[in-house]
Assembly symmetry: C2
Homo-oligomer: 328 residues x 2
């Protein structure tokens, strides 16, 4: 295993310390328990958005804390859920009297721990469960996984909360965006989790893993390495079959790199995905290309599509000022 | 070779098409010859900044075209200089009557082609040659290479040009920032150039390449894989020896990922670099952490330090609105 670390044990702590120093104008790191909040607390009466999950997906979630997006994020160990005490402490730190919305990717550990935190929490709260990964069937026993669509939910609900939406409005909006969002990924290589010290899965030199999860979960099917056009056709068809956008439908298209894939390839994938939906009359109204929901050093990418309406476009466009997403 | 491409021949064109579509609010792509300009031309009387170089380093340079930074960028084939006709056409497209400043990384092909373009160009022009890589001695036969410090020069001179600086002022400022900037990189893996189809250099499972160039040029020395603390000590000492910042000196610290290294590791490196200079009383006044001057899918990073004064801080902080660098 080749990584720039000092020890597996200290990696997360040291990395968060660097993150906190690099962005001390935007965020603040709490050490025990571990969570990140905005440097400048949101105004009174704003619903507080709290997310979190295993580390190794940066900039998700810590890099998305800030004005217009999350109020707090709880980083767990790599690919490991944060603990309920992190979530509780984060929620209590950012609660503004209007309630707390948890945004949780659908993984057993995250779901359980956020539930426990919720039960112990005194303030009003609700949860949006993210389940945008269409590589699993909708009736899968543990439900679908939450992947790169999470950022879109956090951005859109973040804007609504900033504009004064109530807890129940934020919850309904988050669920609606989740229902309107579908993602699927492909891996060219496995990631290597430091504590394991070797690749999570074996993959042949001429193979790709179609439908891979962001923790290196095996996908729908191993496939032979194909052209980018074939790969995109495969991913886009799975998404299109799920969301069934009509001609004239406005969408947000997000091409997300898993960590080790160069920007050149991500933009090439984006070009092919644009063509796929333009041929169907779908209107690519907004887009985001880059490494946002990563899987350590995995090579590959995911495509995410969100069906938009005027309200969602306005919320997407609203100003955001975080360490790793910023506009307006 | 595992890459998401359709063919080696069409990779650059398809990737640029995707880039242009994803950022059509900020930039515009010209196809023959190939260059990227701002969507909205700068105001009359502003010095025009033109950069360029081989592709494979994205977001450098195309992702840095926009308000407050470059007026145009010329992407060559991967790791190959763009041609003089690209540079001439780009310069003519963005010349605003106040002259054109070329910002050129010090590589033989780039230097030669920008010189030829300059000779054929009718308008007033000057060149800033970037040579921030301290892994080579200052008296190296072809001079030092330009690496991640390029972005800092483009940002600072871009702000000055936007504020109305003259061509000669921009040239002097660019040279000054170059003199005040030092970088060094380390590779954990080689990159793979698509046209070559295999890694550029061999590297053992327990080796790292200290002082590597952004095209995968072999470094100062192969070293055994070391702790992040040792790696940072090595890089920072080379930079510190060059720039000799005194206690109290304000600096900009830039940790740049080469492409395949996770954000977690980059922030950890940043944390260690901050400690290195803080122990020496140096003040980390500004910072930038992320993949900015990449080397395709190489794992590793570089550290860059720029000595700051109040003028440079103000120029660094000035608003910038490009595809991949945005604030203010």
């Amino acid at each position: 295993m080749k990584k720039m670390i000092n020890s597996v044990e200290s990696l997360l702590e040291e990395s968060l310390n660097g993150f906190a120093k690099a962005h001390d104008d935007i965020i603040q790191l709490n050490h025990q328990p571990r969570f990140v909040t905005r440097k400048q607390k949101a105004k009174q009466g704003k619903v507080a958005l709290v997310s979190g999950g295993g580390s190794g997906h940066e900039p998700l979630h810590t890099g998305l804390v800030g004005q217009g997006m999350l109020d707090a994020a709880c980083p767990g160990q790599i690919f490991t859920s944060p603990t309920p005490d992190q979530m509780m402490a984060a929620a209590e730190a950012v609660d503004n009297g209007r309630g707390v919305l948890f945004i949780v990717k659908n993984y057993a550990g995250d779901v359980m721990n956020f539930e426990i935190a919720g039960e112990m929490l005194d303030c009003e709260h609700a949860t949006v469960l993210v389940s945008d990964d269409v590589s699993l069937p909708k009736d899968h026993s543990t439900g679908r996984r939450g992947v790169a669509g999470t950022l879109i939910i956090e951005k859109i609900v973040g804007a609504a909360a900033e504009a004064g939406a109530s807890l129940i409005e934020c919850k309904i909006l988050g669920d609606r965006v989740n229902e309107s969002t579908a993602s699927m990924g492909v891996a060219l290589t496995s990631c290597t989790v430091p504590a394991l010290g070797k690749p999570t899965f074996d993959i042949g030199d001429n193979e790709i893993e179609m439908g891979v999860g962001i923790h290196g979960e095996r996908g729908r099917e191993p496939m032979n390495l194909a052209s980018a056009a074939d790969i995109v056709e495969h991913l886009a068809t799975a998404i299109d079959t799920e969301l069934k956008p009509q001609a004239g439908q406005k969408v947000l298209l997000h091409v997300n790199g898993f960590g080790a894939t160069p920007a050149m390839e991500l933009y090439l994938v984006y070009d092919l995905a644009v063509k796929y939906w333009q041929q169907r009359g779908v209107e690519i109204e907004r887009s985001l290309v880059g490494n946002y929901t990563t899987s350590l050093d995995m090579a590959g990418c995911s495509i995410t599509l969100t069906l938009l309406d005027d309200e969602l476009i306005q919320l997407w466009d609203a100003p955001v000022h975080t360490a790793n997403l910023r506009w307006g």
